[in-house]
Symmetry: C2
Subunit: 504 residues, 2 copies
């Protein structure tokens, strides 16, 4: 990610074209010149990524890019990358395909356009990009076969097929999640599904590997798998979009840098959803910083209800329940009504005021106030870091479980008296939380994919004070991505690093 | 694994003591001297392993060991390791435990005894090793809490808890499988389970990480998780033993070397199962070479019915179904009656004579005889290799799916007219296959955990010839591990390397 180390010039703002002379000549191409096809000679494995800027050493990609480092007092670090000049041509790496399965039709003109230009602040209501109807994501192997669910005796009672798009599909979280989705464990034994896997140029071979393993698993409910690198192809008619892919934070990168880098991805994906997904698509953003990524995404998808966008805080909720159970000496299924308030960051607020153990308020069961106020939250937040230390990698399996939980909470009625947490759009919330951000709050669902916020919530000074802090952070993050949400020039004043340990 | 490169002396056989002067002095300790505790300072991740000989560079283990290299014409390579002199003391690495969960009681005297002595050929009917009743595998975190399933309203209708032991529990296959087991997907929504995770000294921290992720997943049916490195602890009362852990084949190691190295593990685990598992434990061996490992295991567990031991060939069966579907242009759920005959190696025989597509014999649907006879089998066998090439790692997810399939096939009635493949004990088989080996054959189950071999099978010259070849290989493997099965001095005459590509 050396591109981000280029300069620290003390000018307030620049257009991409005025900045391009600061870039090394090797990074410059004439505007709009597309890239030649690349080949990858060895298998490449990518943990958790998505379209994004594939500027790895493995790919000798030439790009036209302009990078601005803004450093007036108001700006800490904001990087602007010129969208229209950065594109990757599709490289489909068919070399080994014939070994294992039939040659498949190649998508033409697959491309990803990353990022926004400083002189072209996102206009969320812009008409959707026209999509070439032939420009579909590719079906894969056995999943290219035609079938008629209605004509088959045993599948006649099945529901209508739904399209589930997953970004970062070659990463470890997806590697757990996709098999859960395909098995029927999440959407049920009568819900056939089509998986639409979004990867990057670098991960395309790995995506083929994932698709091969899905084939070999013979899941009866999994009727279609397609893979691609263009969200405008992959998100076509998606009923669910599980946005897991994001760039990991590079060494020395601050949260503001990550916000901008990953924000670019979610501008693109929001626009793609707006253009081609189902009008009632449910979107769960997992890639970090997930709350503000979800905000960026929904701002770029004005034709999809803002209510349909979620930022995943379910793993935090699950971990909080487990820690309360451990402290109380009860099994974890005795803990209910657990809310995570706010941001998926260290300012998150696991709410022990409203949570219950065996139906009783937590404070009636756990008398250790010091533990609740000073250790409980930390025990949740450090969990990911401890896991990496022990296990050597991040908690992909339990993250995938929590994504499945988040989906199931929206498609099954919430048990009487209970609720679940999700990072959702605040406009119209009954708690007095600032509007127009994505904030984790307590939700209930009738099982129709929609939710309502829980009204009967208590607050005390301790809880309110902490909610204010995480709210302030989300408002600061929002100001920092104004260029990505159509809300003006970004102002980054994030005071501290609040990334959760174990999450990059 | 440099220990195995020590010598190639042309003497036919030796006792360990007569050989010990061939070993470097650094490897020698006085007989029966136990090892001092080791500490591991950084998290160690181990892909797929089990107790085994943890002679890694990460552990400065001192061992007493004698290695014999037998090289008469009958013996290609056989290594004998002196059991009674090799032991590891338990190192529980509690340093970080208090960060995340309560301190837990430590198992005392946990040890593993690896391998057999050349002068002490295994006596399978020997009395089971006495086990210290306090010497239990450790419960983990929230799973140490007591609960009473019978007393709880919502769990009253549940079945009796079953213990499922998994070896190689810190590896990638297990990382997929354990979460499938815990979710209820395999054993059903009314079957509470206890997971008993067997790892090695090296993987104990990783096992803690796995247990933490299981905690965080809040699976209601998962009532107990315990971890340990001693199979005599971990297999206690196991109703199922899923033996995934095995040493990967080192560079330059031949199949005979792997047979001996991993065979040692299965001697130990067979004895442990014999001593402490449920008398009707079902055992599925996944670690390679799985057929002969299963044979070794059952020979060392004479008090458990030989019929209860399985070698996993289900991934081969699933892949075969998928390849037939692709070739026939039908969805994979149309392929049935697929048998894999014989060894889980390149001599395996995917049976297209008896398999059916849409209820018709394969040959009536796929007329391309050349493809069936020359390309079909290869397409299955090369699958794992192609996957590694694309995906960068081995096919853990689909292997885990196939293990779940294998279990489900034993606990649910086989659909009318269909069957499944499993590597099972041949004694009494109706096909004329040599007795006293573990051979993949077509099975049907009433759903009671047991199975019967399918009688109505056709054979033709092509099929019989290939079955003979894989049978010959399994008989040769059996001769090669006579010292591990109680059947005398080993004679290794394996002519070629038949490991499947992509499996080490």
């Amino acid at each position: 990610m050396a591109l981000y180390e280029i300069s620290n010039h003390p000018f307030p703002t620049h257009t991409a074209s005025s900045l391009s002379h600061h870039l090394p000549p090797s990074l410059l191409l004439p505007p709009n010149q597309s890239l030649s096809k690349q080949t990858i000679s060895s298998p490449i494995f990518v943990h958790s990524l998505s379209l994004s800027l594939s500027l790895s050493l493995n790919l000798s990609v030439s790009v036209t890019m302009a990078v601005a480092e803004l450093s007036t007092p108001l700006y800490t670090k904001t990087r602007l990358v010129h969208s229209s000049q950065l594109s990757f041509s599709s490289t489909h790496l068919r070399g080994h395909r014939r070994v294992a399965f039939r040659p498949l039709p190649q998508a033409k003109n697959a491309r990803i356009s990353c990022s926004v230009a400083p002189n072209q602040v996102q206009a969320p209501a812009a008409p959707p990009q026209t999509v070439d109807p032939k420009n579909k994501a590719e079906c894969f192997g056995v999943f290219c076969l035609t079938y008629d669910l209605k004509a088959e005796e045993e599948t006649k009672s099945w529901k209508k097929l739904i399209n589930i798009a997953v970004s970062g599909a070659a990463g470890m979280i997806s590697n757990h999640l996709l098999f859960k989705l395909a098995s029927g464990e999440v959407f049920g034994p009568d819900q056939p599904i089509a998986l639409k896997l979004l990867g990057s140029e670098r991960s395309l071979q790995a995506l083929e590997g994932v698709a091969m393993e899905l084939e070999d698993s013979l899941f009866p409910l999994l009727r279609e798998v397609s893979i691609g690198i263009d969200p405008y192809e992959v998100f076509q008619d998606a009923g669910w979009a599980l946005l897991i892919g994001a760039k990991p934070r590079g060494p020395g990168m601050e949260r503001a840098g990550l916000l901008d880098l990953n924000g670019q991805i979610f501008v693109e994906q929001g626009k793609a959803l707006n253009a081609v997904a189902s009008r009632n698509v449910k979107v769960i953003v997992v890639g970090n910083p997930c709350n503000t990524n979800a905000l960026i995404c929904l701002k770029n998808a004005p034709n999809i209800p803002a209510k349909n966008f979620h930022a995943l805080t379910r793993l935090d909720e699950n971990r909080a329940k487990c820690q309360l159970a451990l402290k109380a000496g009860v099994f974890y299924d005795k803990v209910s009504n657990m809310t995570i308030w706010g941001n998926h960051s260290t300012t998150q607020v696991p709410d022990f005021l409203n949570a219950r153990i065996n139906g009783l308020p937590v404070k009636e069961v756990i008398k250790d106030k010091k533990w609740l106020e000073e250790e409980f939250t930390e025990s949740i937040q450090k969990r990911g870091g401890v896991l990496i230390q022990k296990w050597g990698r991040s908690s992909a399996a339990s993250t995938a479980v929590s994504i499945a939980d988040a989906i199931k909470s929206l498609i099954t009625p919430t048990p009487e008296g209970d609720w679940f947490s999700s990072g959702v759009y605040t406009t119209g919330n009954p708690y007095g939380i600032a509007e127009d951000i994505v904030f984790s709050m307590p939700c209930r669902s009738k099982g129709d994919g929609d939710y309502e916020l829980v009204k009967d919530i208590q607050f005390d000074d301790y809880l309110l004070k902490r909610i204010k802090k995480t709210e302030a952070e989300l408002l600061a993050e929002k100001r920092c991505v104004g260029h990505l949400t159509g809300q003006g020039i970004p102002v980054c004043d994030l005071p501290e690093d609040t990334m959760l340990p174990g999450e990059m």
